[in-house]
């Protein structure tokens, strides 16, 4: 784990309201795995850091993908190249990919694309055939970037690809990874009990101390998304108790 002052190096738009921000973080870039995240803080920012899955790695740089959902993400999106963020990571247990399976299906909804490019590259490096399934409300909200051998789009309004959810549009595969709203992950876990899903929670420290990011388990009790997760076997999570909607904006 590293704590690095990371200059922002660029920003690009990948969908309506959705942006990728790149930053210099060499030690994290060279050690991060798919599904792991960084916890970002900045001066004159909100009190707590904000967790983001690492989207891609490019040399010494890492990228995160985000939408403006509250005051913190608004500030982050307003930053210019050269502005510095404090970057803590890599954090969490990512997707565990092994040699053996022939096919993998990466199912994402909206911002759930975040961990998928790294997952696609790690799977491809293991010789696994990658199908990228991405869903959003409409074509304008689909992420314009994708990786893998085959791509399947799904939109709620049918403006591109299959009409309906990414989970419904996805083919079966030897391994399924999913990331997106918790409601979507519950549906993925229903269809593929062994799917590895990356959950979203409120998070405090990101390092296992504050116990704020509790994930309710079917077997009872809670564990920590930040250190035990954020990747879980879909059927291990008590989806009824995990909040399906996160309200981000700071109440002031």
């Amino acid at each position: 784990m590293f704590l690095i002052d990371s200059p922002i190096t660029g920003k690009r738009q990948v969908a309506r309201g959705m942006f990728v921000i790149a930053m210099e973080a060499p030690e994290i870039a060279s050690s991060v795995h798919a599904g792991q995240f960084v916890n970002l803080g900045w001066s004159r920012g909100p009190l707590l850091r904000r967790p983001f899955s690492v989207y891609r790695v490019d040399g010494d740089r890492i990228e995160v993908v985000l939408k403006e959902v509250g005051a913190g993400t608004a500030q982050l999106l307003a930053m210019q190249p050269g502005h510095v963020v404090s970057c803590l990571g890599p954090l969490g247990r990512g997707f565990e990919l092994k040699q053996g399976p022939r096919t993998i299906c990466l199912v994402s909804g909206g911002l759930g694309v975040a961990p998928m490019p790294l997952a696609a590259r790690e799977a491809a490096a293991l010789g696994i055939r990658v199908t990228w399934v991405h869903g959003a409300r409409s074509e304008a909200e689909l992420c314009s970037e994708w990786e893998g051998d085959e791509v399947v789009w799904a939109t709620d309004d049918g403006s591109r690809g299959a009409k309906g959810t990414a989970v419904a549009a996805a083919p079966d595969a030897d391994v399924v990874l999913a990331c997106g709203p918790n409601r979507m992950l519950a549906a993925a876990a229903d269809r593929w009990p062994d799917a590895m899903v990356a959950v979203e929670t409120y998070m405090g420290c990101g390092t296992g101390v504050c116990l704020g990011c509790a994930v309710p388990l079917k077997k009872g009790g809670y564990d920590r998304a930040c250190t035990d997760g954020p990747v879980y076997r879909g059927s291990d999570v008590d989806w009824g108790t995990l909040p399906s909607h996160l309200a981000y904006a700071i109440t002031s």
Partner: protein
């Protein structure tokens, strides 16, 4: 010359005045990257006799310059603490105090008796101020007789240092402070979180599943400095200041206001190295002003 930052407090000699606050440092094994030489002491996450699952999510909500939490004292119970953590504490070069909790005075006493003499356990911080449990917690903290009864129950069962962590949710903290001092406390920790509430305007309900939570962070600092000062004026035993400390100057405010030491909490969530920065900054402040030791720092502490 490096100023002497050591302090004697509540039966313990500490190498520095900055400690890790309960619930923000786990069991001491979790926080990454911290330079441990800066730790005066550590207070463990609150423990009960039995394991506790804690509250359902959402458990935290950020607020302006602060955060609300309702973790519900999730923990493995005392036996797991003795088995999994105490042996590691026994090897560390700073003392570890256990934050103890119960639903009755006798449960606190039992917990102290079970932990007394366990290698690695250097003392107790009695938690009579957790706002996030249905039974006990804050109930004991806002009634002087109940607070004294819990303190006595623990005092009787251990010869180790006994500190008592006070709640700010009282009309006169001096009354509680004097009651637990008379009951045998070696030091006071002031303060625990304030009870707060935040509403999710999309869901038209509280943001926390527990409805309310404990407010911490810089938002509460001036309130905490005042209450720690009030407590320090009321008693002769040392007071450990807690509440929104993130920088050396924050800690120094508590020290000048009459505290003997401080605990850093929420700041560790933001920067795992916060404790070391506060510790080093206190030394730099004293050195820059020509003080040879923390004991020379001028205090503002008129006695009641």
């Amino acid at each position: 010359m490096t100023p002497d930052l050591s302090v004697a407090i509540g039966g313990l000699a500490l190498r520095g005045p900055v400690m890790a606050a309960s619930g923000t440092f786990g069991y001491g094994t979790e926080v990454p990257l911290l330079d441990r030489r800066a730790l005066g002491a550590m207070v463990s996450k609150g423990i009960f006799l039995r394991p506790r699952a804690g509250t359902p999510p959402p458990r935290i909500a950020e607020t302006p310059s602060g955060m609300l939490n309702a973790i519900g004292l999730q923990g493995p119970g005392v036996e797991a603490l003795i088995r999994d953590y105490a042996p590691r504490w026994a090897e560390w070069d700073f003392p570890v105090l256990v934050n103890i909790n119960g639903e009755s005075a006798s449960e606190y006493g039992e917990l102290a008796a079970r932990l007394d003499g366990v290698p690695g356990v250097a003392g107790f911080e009695i938690n009579i101020s957790c706002p996030n449990v249905e039974q006990g917690g804050l109930y004991f903290g806002n009634d002087p007789r109940a607070a004294a009864a819990v303190t006595e129950a623990v005092r009787k069962r251990t010869s180790l240092p006994v500190w008592v962590k006070l709640t700010p949710m009282v009309s006169d903290i001096g009354v509680i402070a004097r009651a637990v001092e008379a009951a045998g406390a070696d030091a006071l920790c002031a303060i625990n979180t304030f009870v707060g509430m935040s509403i999710d305007l999309n869901a038209y309900r509280p943001r926390l599943s527990f409805r309310t939570g404990g407010l911490s962070g810089p938002a509460i600092r001036p309130l905490a400095v005042h209450l720690a000062h009030q407590a320090a004026r009321a008693v002769r035993i040392p007071v450990i200041g807690i509440g929104g400390i993130a920088r050396p100057e924050d800690a120094l405010e508590f020290l000048v206001a009459g505290c003997t030491a401080v605990q850093v909490g929420t700041a560790t969530f933001v920067d795992p190295r916060a404790i070391a920065e506060v510790h080093d900054g206190i030394g730099a402040f004293l050195a820059a002003r020509g003080f040879e030791s923390l004991a020379d720092l001028p205090r503002y502490l008129p006695r009641d």
